[in-house]
C-alpha cells in the first residue's frame, strides 16, 4: 500500500522522483490546479462536476478504506444523508444554500457517529456487512418517508438558481460558473483533508493500520481513533453528497443505494487506495469511461467491465498508486 502522508520521506532521487516530490509537497495546490482544468478535459461541464463530487466522495471514503484499512460498504448512506440533509433543507424548508450545506454535512456527521458506533467494534468482512446493513436501514427509511424525501420518485425542487457572496453574483444555471463555485467549496475540503492526513492524528491512523497491537502498546486509543476516522470520512462523503444535491437540483433515492457504496469502492481501487490523488484519478477514469462508452455502444457494460478487469489486473495499486511506484522505482 502506497501512502504519501509524509511525502518528503518517500521522495527519491531521479528526475521524475524530483517532480513527484515537488508535487507531493504541494499536493493541495497540485490537486487544485489539475481540477481547475477539469471542465476542459471532459465532454461537458456537468460531467466535470460529477467527477469533482465523486472524487471528493472517494477522498472521504479513502480515509477509512485506504488510510485506516477498513472496508466500509455503507458509505452510500453517508453520501445520501448529506445529499438529503442539504436537499430537504432547500426544497422543503426554503433554507438558503449556505445554511443547507452545513446542515447536510451535520446530518451525514450524525449518521456516521451512529453507524460508526455500531460498526467500529467489528473487523474485516463483519465491518463491511454491518455498515452495509445499517446503510440499508437508512435507505429504507428514506424510501418510506415520502412526505419528506419524495420516496422512490426522489427529492425534487432543490433550487439554487444563483449564489451571492460578498456582492458577487454567481449564476448557477451557467454550467461553468456552477463548476467553479462547487470547485471553490471542494477546495476547502481538499485542503482540510490534507491537513488531517498531515496531522499527528493521520500518522496514528496509519500506524494502527500497519500494526494495531503495536499502536495499542504505544498508548493510542485504537477504537476511538477508528471511530473518529469513520466520522471524518462520513463528513467528507456527506459534503460531497450535499454538493451533489445542489448540482443536480434533485436527490435520487439511488444515492442511498448500496450500489453507490460499491461505486465509490471501485473508484478508490481504480485510482489507488491510500493515495491522495487516487480518488480524483479514479473518479475521472470511472466516470469518463462510462460516459464515453455509453454513447459509442449499447454494450458499454461489457467494454467497461473488461477495461476495469484489465486495470485491476495490471495496476493492482490503482492507476495513481502504480504510477507512483513506477516513478519512484
Amino acid at each position: 500500500m502506497e501512502s504519501n502522508t509524509r511525502p518528503a520521506a518517500t521522495a527519491k532521487a531521479g528526475p521524475m522522483g524530483g517532480l513527484v516530490a515537488v508535487i507531493a509537497r504541494h499536493r493541495v495546490l497540485a490537486a487544485l490546479v489539475v481540477l481547475a482544468a477539469l471542465p476542459f478535459v471532459t465532454p461537458y461541464e456537468a460531467l466535470a462536476v460529477n467527477i469533482l463530487i465523486f472524487g471528493l466522495y472517494a477522498m472521504g471514503f479513502n480515509l477509512i478504506f485506504g488510510y485506516a484499512g477498513m472496508l466500509s460498504f455503507g458509505h452510500a448512506a453517508l453520501f445520501g444523508l448529506g445529499a438529503y440533509g442539504c436537499g430537504v433543507s432547500i426544497a422543503k424548508f426554503a433554507i438558503p444554500w449556505f445554511l443547507a450545506l452545513p446542515i447536510g454535512i451535520a446530518v451525514a456527521g450524525i449518521g456516521s457517529v451512529v453507524i460508526g458506533w455500531f460498526a467500529i467494534r467489528s473487523r474485516g468482512i463483519y465491518f463491511a456487512m454491518i455498515t452495509l446493513a445499517l446503510s440499508q436501514v437508512v435507505y429504507y427509511s428514506a424510501y418510506q418517508w415520502v412526505s419528506l424525501t419524495g420516496g422512490e420518485d426522489g427529492l425534487r425542487g432543490v433550487n439554487v438558481p444563483a449564489i451571492d457572496v460578498f456582492g458577487l453574483h454567481f449564476d448557477m444555471l451557467d454550467p461553468l460558473v456552477k463548476y467553479y463555485v462547487l470547485y471553490a467549496l471542494a477546495a476547502v475540503a481538499i485542503a482540510l483533508f490534507s491537513r488531517i492526513l498531515h496531522s499527528p492524528y493521520g500518522a496514528v491512523l496509519e500506524a494502527i493500520r500497519e500494526n494495531e497491537t503495536r499502536a495499542l502498546a504505544c498508548g493510542y486509543d485504537v477504537a476511538r481513533t477508528r471511530w473518529l476516522a469513520f466520522i471524518l470520512s462520513g463528513v467528507f462523503s456527506g459534503f460531497a453528497g450535499a454538493l451533489y444535491a445542489i448540482h443536480l437540483s434533485v436527490v435520487p433515492i439511488e444515492t442511498l443505494n448500496y450500489f453507490n457504496s460499491a461505486e465509490v469502492l471501485m473508484i478508490t481501487l481504480l485510482g489507488g487506495m491510500g493515495t491522495f490523488f487516487g480518488a480524483f484519478v479514479g473518479a475521472y477514469v470511472y466516470i469518463m469511461l462510462q460516459d464515453v462508452m455509453t454513447v459509442v455502444t449499447v454494450h458499454w457494460q461489457l467494454v467497461v467491465g473488461i477495461l476495469f478487469v484489465v486495470l485491476i489486473l495490471f495496476f493492482p495499486r490503482g492507476i495513481w498508486g502504480s504510477l507512483l511506484k513506477w516513478v519512484r522505482a
Binding site: G18, L19, A37, D153, R156, P252, T294
Partner: protein, 416 residues
C-alpha cells in the same frame, strides 16, 4: 518508454513533454464536444434506459422516435430545417438522467427533450429542464408529473398516467365481473399509484376489497400468495406490477388454476411480455394500454406508424411503450411546425392549442397540466386458438374515449 529511458531524460525536457502532453490532453476531447450551432437542425434530446431491465422497451422507443424524425424530415422539415435525435442512456437512474439532461441542454444545446421510462427519472429530467426553460415531453407513466409541485409550463406528458390507465381497466372489469376485488400490488410507486387508480374507479361501482397483498419488486415466487387470494373468493384479481413480475404472476396463476375462479386484470398489459410469455399464461387476462398495433384497421395514423416500422424493422410491429417514443417526438415537432420555429414560448402556445393524431386517433394537451388527453385501450389476451399471426395477441375490448373527465381535475392536482 521504459522506466530506464525516463531516467536519462533531463528535467527540462520532461517538463516540456509534460506541457505538451497537457496541451494535447486539453485539445483531444474537443471532438467529443458537439458543435454548438444555434440555428440549423432542431435537436431533440432523448434520454431513455437503453441498458438495464427495461432495455427492450427503451430500444423500441428509440426506433419509434427515429421514425417520427424521419417522417418529419422527409416531409421537408420546418421550412427546410431538419430534426435530429440525440439518444442518451439514462441507465434507469435519476442521477444519470439529470446529468444527461444537463449535457443535452448545456452542451448539445437541444431545443426540446423527450423520453424516459421510469417515474423517478422523468421527474429529475423535468426538474432540470424546467429550471432552464427547455420543453420536456415525458413518455413514462406518472401521476406526480401532473401535480402542481412538479409541473411547469415547460412540462408536457404524452404518456398515460396511472389514474387514467387503471381507471379505464377498472371501469371495464368491475361492472362486468363482480364487486369482490383482491389486490396484488408491487410495493413501489408504480404499484401504489396504479392500485390507487383502481380504487378510485371502483368507488362508483361500490367494490369490496377482500384482500390486499404487497410483494417486493422482482418477486419470483407468487404461488405463496395464491391460497390467501383464493380463500378470499374474489371475482376479480387486480395485479399492479410490471415487466418480468407480470409474466411470473400470470404463469404461476395459470398453473395454480386461479383463472377458473376469478378474472385477472393488470393496469398495463405489456405487448413485449405477452410475446415473451406466450398465449397460454396470458389467456383471458385483461389490461390497459396506450397502443396496440391492431388499431391500424380503425386509424390511418396507426397504420402509418406500423407501415413505417415494418418497412424498417423486418415486418415487426411497434410495442405500446415504443409507440410513445413516436408520439412524444411527433407532438413536439407538430408544435414547432405550428409555432413556425423553436422559441419555447411560441411552441408552448402552439402545443396548448394543438389537436393532433399521432398514432391512435385524436389527442390534445390539457391546458392546466399539459397531460395528453387520449384514448385508453382495454385489452384481453387471446387464447392460442384465435391467434392468427405472430403479433396477433390481443383483442381490443374497450376504448375509453379521450375525455378530461377520466383525468384528475385541475383543482385536485393543485393547479389554481
Amino acid at each position: 518508454m521504459s522506466p530506464k529511458d525516463v531516467l536519462t531524460i533531463s528535467r527540462r525536457t520532461l517538463l516540456k513533454g509534460a506541457a505538451f502532453g497537457a496541451a494535447a490532453g486539453l485539445a483531444a476531447p474537443a471532438y467529443l464536444r458537439t458543435a454548438r450551432a444555434q440555428s440549423g437542425p432542431i435537436k431533440i434530446g432523448f434520454p431513455v434506459p437503453i441498458t438495464g431491465p427495461y432495455s427492450t422497451e427503451a430500444q423500441d422507443q428509440v426506433r419509434c422516435a427515429e421514425i417520427a424524425i424521419a417522417m418529419f424530415n422527409e416531409a421537408g422539415g420546418l421550412n427546410g430545417r431538419k430534426a435530429e435525435l440525440l439518444v442518451r442512456d439514462d441507465k434507469l437512474n435519476p442521477g444519470e438522467g439529470a446529468t444527461r439532461a444537463l449535457e443535452l441542454i448545456e452542451s448539445d444545446k437541444v431545443n426540446f427533450l423527450c423520453g424516459s421510462l421510469s417515474a423517478s427519472v422523468q421527474l429529475s429530467v423535468n426538474q432540470v429542464a424546467k429550471q432552464r426553460g427547455v420543453i420536456y415531453n415525458s413518455i413514462s407513466q406518472s401521476d406526480s408529473i401532473n401535480e402542481a409541485a412538479d409541473f411547469s409550463k415547460y412540462t408536457f406528458h404524452e404518456a398515460l398516467n396511472p389514474h387514467m390507465t387503471a381507471g379505464a381497466v377498472g371501469r371495464y372489469v368491475f361492472p362486468k365481473f363482480g364487486k369482490r376485488v383482491a389486490f396484488l400490488v408491487a410495493d413501489y410507486a408504480y404499484g401504489h399509484e396504479m392500485a390507487r387508480g383502481f380504487r378510485t374507479a371502483g368507488k362508483e361501482f361500490g367494490i369490496e376489497e377482500v384482500v390486499e397483498i404487497k410483494h417486493p419488486l422482482g418477486q419470483t415466487d407468487f404461488s405463496t400468495f395464491f391460497p390467501r387470494i383464493q380463500a378470499a373468493r374474489p371475482n376479480v384479481l387486480v395485479v399492479c406490477n410490471f415487466g418480468r413480475d407480470q409474466l411470473n404472476t400470470v404463469k404461476q396463476a395459470t398453473d395454480f388454476g386461479l383463472k377458473q375462479q376469478m378474472k385477472i386484470a393488470f393496469p398495463v398489459l405489456l405487448f413485449s411480455q405477452r410475446l415473451a410469455g406466450g398465449a397460454g399464461p396470458f389467456e383471458g387476462v385483461f389490461g390497459g394500454a396506450n397502443y396496440y398495433w391492431g388499431l391500424e384497421d380503425k386509424f390511418p395514423s396507426a397504420k402509418r406508424l406500423n407501415d413505417a416500422y415494418r418497412a424498417k424493422h423486418n415486418n415487426a410491429v411497434p410495442t405500446d411503450y415504443g409507440a410513445l417514443g413516436f408520439a412524444g417526438i411527433y407532438a413536439l415537432l407538430e408544435g414547432a411546425k405550428k409555432a413556425g420555429g423553436t422559441d419555447p414560448d411560441a411552441v408552448i402556445a402552439a402545443l396548448e392549442a394543438l389537436k393532433y393524431d399521432a398514432y391512435k386517433g385524436p389527442e390534445y394537451f390539457r391546458k392546466c397540466d399539459h397531460q395528453a388527453v387520449q384514448s385508453v385501450l382495454v385489452l384481453e389476451s387471446k387464447p392460442q386458438a384465435q391467434v392468427k399471426s405472430q403479433y396477433d395477441v390481443f383483442n381490443v375490448v374497450e376504448m375509453q374515449p379521450p375525455e378530461e373527465k377520466f383525468l384528475r381535475s385541475c383543482q385536485q392536482l393543485g393547479h389554481g
